[in-house]
Structure formats: C-alpha cells, structure tokens
Symmetry: C2
Subunit: 243 residues, 2 copies
DNA sequence: GTCTATAGAAAGATAGAC
DNA sequence: GTCTATCTTTCTATAGAC
C-alpha cells in the first residue's frame, strides 16, 4: 500500500489550511530531539548524529532540513522563548502588572516540570558568554528584552502600594532574572536541596510585595518527560534564517 | 656517570624548604593555561592540544603531568575554590558574622576583575548539571558547602538586629548564591547592563541588613587579565588524585 | 526527502626515543 | 620531563544514488 503523500490536492500548498507538510513534521521531530539532547548535555557535547538518530533518521537526512548544527540550536531556543513570551504576556495580562507575577510563578512551576529545558538554558547561556558562540547575540538580546519588560512591570508594582515602595526597578529586574537562573543551576544539581517556588515567593515578599497566590497553585504539568513543545510550529518573529 | 637525581640531598624532598620543582612549575603553568581556555570556551570545546600549546608544550607532554583531561578540570576548579575559601573564612572572620558580608562584597569585586574565571564557573556549572559530567559531584558538593556556611552566617545576622529579622536563613542562603551566579551570567553577556555590586548590596538591604561598607571599597585588583592564581600551589585538601 | 558512502579534520590517548 | 609518531574514534559536512 504505497499510498504516499495522500493529500496534496490543491497544488502549491501556500494558503492551504490543512496540517503540516511531512517536511514540517520532520523538522519538528528533529527540533524535539535536539531539544532533549541539548538539554541533557549542552551544545558542544551533542553531535548531529545523536540528534538525527534520536529523531529517526541519519545525520545526512537531518542536514537536508537544517544548514548546520548551529541553526538547529537557534531554532530550538527560538521555539522555547516564543512559548515563554506567550505565557508572560498573555492576552489577559493586559495592563495589570501583578498578572506578570502570576505568570512568573506559573513559569517557575512549568520549569520544575521540565528539567530538561531548564538544563538547556543553563548550559547554553553559560556557553554563550563566549562572543564566538552561535547563540551569543541571541542571549544578549534575550536578557535585554526580559530586563526591560520586567523593569516596566516592577516599576508599576512599586508605585502601587500605600506608601509606594522605594526600589530601583531596573536593579530588581536584573536581580529577579539572576535569581531564577541561579536557582535553576542549584536545582538541577540537587533538586531536593532547593525550593524554587519558596525562594521566588520569598524574594517578592522581601521586596514588600503581597501576593494573593501564595498558596501552592499546583502546577498543571506534573510530567517528568518533556512534552515536545507547548507551542505549535509557527512563523519565526525574529528570523535567523539563512537561505 | 649514572649520577642521576643530582640535588636530592636530604632524601625524598619531603621537608625541603626550597621553591617548587620544575614539574610543579610546569603543572602550574598548565593549570593557568587550562583555566584561561576553559574560562573562555568551556570544557568540551577546549582540547588538550589547545591547553598544551598555550602552556608551551605538546599534548603528550601535558599528559605526562595529568592522567587525562578531566583531571585537569578538577584541579583547576579546586585551585580557585581554595582561594575563595581563604577569602570567605579568613582568620580575622572568626566569629563576626558581618565579616562574611565584607568578604562577599570583596569577592564580588574580585570577580568583576577576573571575568575569565567567572566565565569558567558559569560555563562548567552549567555543563555539570549532567550527572555524567566529570565535575558533577564536585559542584554538588561545592553548593552544599556554600549553602550550609551561608545559612549559619545569615542565621546569626538575622538574630542580631532589634527587633530580629524573620527570614528563613536557608532560603536566603540559596537565594544569595543564585543571585551571584545569575548576575554573573548576565554580566558576562553584557557587562554594562548589570551592576553586580549595586545588585548584591541592594539585596542585602532588601533583607533589612545594614552595611557599613556601602561606599565603594575600591577593589584591590583592577587587573583585566587573569593574575594566574591568588593562591600558591598547595597540598590538596580534598584529593582527587590517582597515582 | 532520505539514504549510503566517504571525505577531511580533529579529538583523546599511548608507545617509545631522547 | 618532553618530544615525535601513531592509533582509534568521532566529528561536521558533501556527493550522489534511489
């Protein structure tokens, strides 16, 4: 029954509304595999052969879809950050700054359910300190965007209480990101030794902020193995493609 | 004339008071080179040939002094941590818990003067999350020791003010280490974007602690290139040697 | 779109001369 | 203590058949 490529009816598939191409599905599978392996062992320690084997093809087949190893990495990172952005600036977040705190605590829980992805960011952001690293610019940009967004949100939050809190929102934004990253490093090394949720909540309390969600909101994803990706393959916002 | 071992007068050079052997000097040079290269590019991305060339010998020559690449890494890490330990628990630190805050701020400044070593720890601690990584156990142990020491110190500090502060010293210890690590990650990516000194001081203030040294204490090491090592080659306290 | 086959470079490690 | 030479493995990437 060689009923291959069953449904490519309407020609060039440009405005086709039906599901992903086989190529797109393969690329997604490759990115899933790369995500898992990079997460486990970093960038340099993982070979294209490893990724390809894990995705069910050969390394030559993989290179048909991606020009090189670095491109795979950039795509993996982009996919995850699009997911985080969707969580952080969800439509309902609108103008309520405390919605950001909600979202952040949600992300902490999501992270605790996906140690592999956490490991990926810890490892790659470490490697990326080298200006020669393929993901260097990516991470510089990433932290810039996150710091700016958090600075605005914290500034709003500090202005709200009576009396207002006197913190430097910019400093706190950097502190907060640093806290999350650093906690993850310790948590990956020894999960029982660090309570990421308690530490983050305590930090916000130390600032004088009051949280309504202090009680354990029960993470929606108690899975221990990576659920592929929370985001469907979508158009890249910041493109690093080379034709 | 098989009059070998020319000057080993007093037996096996055990209580010999004169300077380091040639071999010891070579090993120190190798560790300096490895430190610099691991700092710049991490563990996996650096080859023994790179290190050897940088130290002025061949990779075979290097392997005469170290059994393998992993051993070089462990020795590099051990040397730095012995230096930090000397700073953190200096003799004068005795029983004054605020001496620890002094020492911590000093370490922040030392770090800002040695971005290479900071990069080493950021990179290797990221890679070491993998239980297979040669430095995994080392880092687990390292964070355990640091958290315990900081927990005791913070507990003392919180009990001191009138009225005492009500923080969980264990949580704060983890937060503090996380803050330092995370700030370094951002600082390495974009040094102008993060003020490590201000962020750390602000954190201690957010806790309600008052510092006498708030004003810039002028780091004693304004150097930009690594000064080899602040600690002379000494007997390893935690030995990982294999004969 | 995926494969086999292979090129070409570089890795960690060892043997033995000097 | 350091070298040259070499072994063995593994890597990224390319060429071309199917």
């Amino acid at each position: 029954m060689s009923e291959q490529t069953p449904r490519r009816a309407s020609g060039g598939r440009k405005t086709d509304r039906k599901g992903p191409t086989k190529g797109e599905r393969t690329r997604a599978t490759i990115l899933d595999a790369a995500t898992e392996l990079f997460s486990r062992s970093g960038f340099h320690a993982v070979s294209l052969r490893d990724i390809a084997a894990h995705a069910g093809l050969t390394h030559a087949g993989l290179l048909h879809h991606f020009p090189g190893k670095e491109d795979v990495l950039i795509k993996v990172l982009g996919r995850r950050d699009r997911a985080d952005a969707a969580l952080l600036w969800a439509p309902d977040a609108g103008e309520r700054p405390e919605a950001l705190l909600d979202a952040i605590v949600r992300i902490v829980h999501r992270n605790m359910a996906t140690p592999g992805m956490v490991g990926l960011y810890v490892k790659i952001s470490g490697e990326a300190a080298d200006p020669e690293h393929p993901a260097h610019d990516y991470f510089v940009q990433r932290y810039r965007v996150l710091r700016e967004a958090l600075t605005r949100a914290f500034a709003d939050l500090f202005a709200r209480p009576d009396p207002p809190l006197h913190h430097d929102a910019g400093i706190v934004a950097g502190q907060f990101l640093a806290l999350m990253d650093g906690l993850q490093t310790q948590w990956l090394l020894e999960p029982e030794a660090v309570d990421m949720h308690a530490s983050v909540v305590a930090f916000l309390r130390q600032l004088g902020l009051t949280l309504e969600l202090s009680a354990e909101p029960a993470p929606p994803t108690p899975a221990t193995s990576e659920p592929s990706s929370p985001v469907p393959p979508a158009k890249e916002p910041h493109d690093t493609d080379r034709p």
